[in-house]
Symmetry: D2
Subunit: 290 residues, 4 copies
């Protein structure tokens, strides 16, 4: 059973993405008018009006949306077919189902669970999966199922298969909240929903282990975090959000890690919010965030 | 003779503002399609889809814009009349004419002149007016006319009249770049174009003289600046842009002033850029910035 | 029984504050050398070397600190007496005892409890007091006592007396984590330990009820928070920390409140950390933060 | 003839740097007391009180500093000899002599010249050297000599030799204000004074040509700049200052470059100020900035 968000009842979000061409916006807005819907917000961007890529996000209000949903979808398909556009229509009152994968660190995981409880994230959280057990009690105190999938030895395929089985059909996207296992290319294929990661430190600097120690040695004056979609190029997927905090020579590597944890959880929570609101459109190796 | 910006040749910007109502976006975008124009960017916002205010900025490309300009204007008038909307259409290749009023401080004035010379600001600068003469040589070295209008004694009406006479018909907006004279309500009426101010310090804090000294005494940890349109409520007009910088107890009042000057010039230059690009729509006592 | 922090064993913090005068630093550092202690960090500031105020924070390591503590105190007293300085010596391994007062909002309270559990805050938390009961279970899940002191009717004196009784002798400072009751001057006197508050919005703007609604109406582009010591001038006490986040016209008052909650908890947690580390020295109505 | 800064008359800055050991601070402060000087500010840092490196910056006021300078230096040498410390004493009223090397870009160069003219930078500027001539008139309008040293062909040794000859004995440090020539290792040796660079973009990301285009393609959400000392490891020297600005998908590569120019000039001017004030101590490949 899906949890519904009353404030967004009868609100739909239409994402349109493809080659820019004249008449596109008029076609979409004409369509919405035809269905007696009222545009709540509209964002669009073209990376080059002459033959570039076009991106649009329209939120509209349409009384009795559920009853009309299929008809609107059919009309969109027919209207946008001549333009060769990719599109998707979502009912904004239906929260996306989000799984969280975590390890021992709590800062990103707890921040997501807490924001969800406060009503800040329009998602449902059917499960948290971890390769450790230390967060089980905390997760369950939020009323959320916790599954322990240990990941030992060099061969991770059994653990990955178990995770895929838990996720299959149950979630719309996955968040790696400081999940410290490297995922195989197969996993990304098999999970078949978007996977959002939070990268400790400012990409592409200080890749690998001990990033805060390396940052300390290098004497950086800023510490950052990057949230991105996971692709087969580990840590190189399309960036959703980034931020930094200022540090000084007086901050120890432990201080940097603490400050980094703050910026990590802030960046990840914004990336998750925007994804859940259908604000992020992927294009090649970058994103448009409306 | 107007200086034209080749990159923006045949680009028009349409601003639409008024009561939100269904069909509005479709009406505007249909109109643009009708005139064989291609939408380059479109931003819109409604502060309440049920009976709120609607704001839209559309930039479109239309070959031979100049020839078709009047016809498009007529069509916009006819199309939007039933909706009761305020609108304006501007040719983006025609830079707005900007006058700068300054006193002895150079940081905001020079930053504007330098950005203009670099091609960062789509404006022409027909004149700089100051109640002091110290900046005359600097201003003229940028090839810009400098007029000295001294402002002595309690009665400023003669000086204001002289300024209004210099500006009348020659400028599209006025920037107060740390102009340290209080302008009368009559001046605001008589000048009859938008006037942008930069306020030293974070509104509404530390109003009046010696703001940096007051901020130092209060031990603030942030120093800010606010750029706003001037209204009859001095320093209380619609905010265009704000920013802050971090300071500490070790910063003297002079340091705060120096840091403040940096944030003032940054904030003012952004406000001027956005105004020049028709990105700012005033509504009541606030702004929508697209 | 006090919880001890092993990493800070045998570390003492000396705060010296008073009229600046020649020889002061040499006197203090000579004293530390005399006691065979090693200076770990030393910060000092003088707001005017000619007759201004002097502030110093020295952290030093001294094996067997506990045994020598009283002797060092006596020597400090004797050494600083001729200079007329205020001073205090603290054992850094002894966490300060912090009480948290909260109402219904959870963001500041939970952030403090999490950080404490993660080991980020060198404090113990003997109690949380609230005029509501909704956070009782959450607080107790951290193993921290929760006391409900309802505050009804115009006369708050009974509730305040009950709070003072709970706090008396048990805590070293009090944090108002969005505690929505106005405290009387008597309370501040009776509680007799520092009280830290977090102010919703950037002081002194938007004082009173509905600050985020007022900020929305005013069209501000930044939302801030200020943490300060509580004095009899409500919300006007010495500022410890401030920060802001950027917002736009598209943010609703609810969005501003959500963004505001993030900056409030970040600012409060920094203020609490710095207070707990003896980094904040009050002087008149401002602070020196080392 | 050296230009003197009256506000800093009789102020000296002592930098001490070396192995941390007990008694060091007492030795230094005792020495200052002995010379009847008054400590204006004192900063120190130890990266590890047990056998780490010690850094100290003391500014003190000593009437008739010039007369006593040599005697104080001798006493410092004698006092610090047993500790094996590196040290230097500077008269704060004597501005450091700064040469600026530039190419065609004006933003960093002009910002330094303006700030110098405003009295914000405690330096003198005996010369600007460029491999282009476009900035000659601007530079000379500030009353500063401009030397054109063209740099053509693959062999830069003649040009470098000419620059070294111009600089030799005339400057205390060199600023590369977007100087677009790669300097040889020999040059760094021969110039024999600190060289400060501003790196376009956030190190180590997007090294090489076209950094803003690369950043655009990668879809970054932040644009940064790094100022560092030049070492033989080009662009990898000790970082003095870094900062970022937020950008979006809607910013073109040209917008990123414009925003980047703003952050570059801000970061460089802070690095130059701090170096000029003897606030930066190099240690290995990082810096301590007091």
């Amino acid at each position: 059973m899906t949890v519904h968000n009353e404030a967004l009842r009868d609100h739909a979000c239409l994402i349109v993405h493809g080659p820019d061409q004249p008449g596109l916006v008029a076609a979409v807005t004409g369509l919405i008018t035809r269905h007696k819907a009222n545009i709540v917000s509209l964002d669009q961007y073209s990376d080059n009006p002459e033959g570039g890529a076009f991106f649009q996000r329209v939120v509209f209000h349409r009384p009795n949306l559920t009853a009309a949903f299929e008809e609107i979808e059919n009309d969109i398909a027919k209207t946008l077919e001549p333009y060769g556009m990719t599109w998707r229509l979502t009912d904004q009152s239906v929260p996306k189902r989000m799984a969280v994968l975590a390890s021992t660190s709590d800062h990103c995981l707890l921040d997501l669970l807490w924001r969800h409880r406060r009503g800040e994230l329009p998602v449902s959280i059917p499960m948290v999966i971890s390769n450790h057990t230390n967060m089980a009690e905390d997760v369950r105190s939020f009323g959320i199922p916790f599954f322990h999938v240990p990941s030992q030895g060099p061969d991770k395929s059994a653990a990955e298969a178990e995770i895929v089985k838990l996720l299959a059909g149950n979630v719309d996207f996955v968040v790696l909240a400081r999940y410290m296992q490297i995922l195989s290319e197969n996993f990304i294929d098999d999970v078949a929903v978007p996977v959002i990661n939070i990268h400790h430190s400012f990409l592409p600097a200080f890749i690998g282990a001990g990033p805060y120690r390396k940052a300390k040695e290098r004497g950086v004056k800023l510490i950052g975090a990057t949230s991105h979609y996971v692709t087969k190029d580990l840590d190189e997927g399309p960036i959703i959000e980034q931020d930094v905090v200022r540090v000084t020579h007086a901050d120890s590597a432990a201080d940097l890690q603490r400050r980094g944890a703050d910026v990590e959880r802030a960046v990840l929570s914004r990336a998750v919010l925007w994804h859940a609101q259908d604000r992020v459109i992927r294009h090649g190796n970058h994103t448009v965030v409306f």
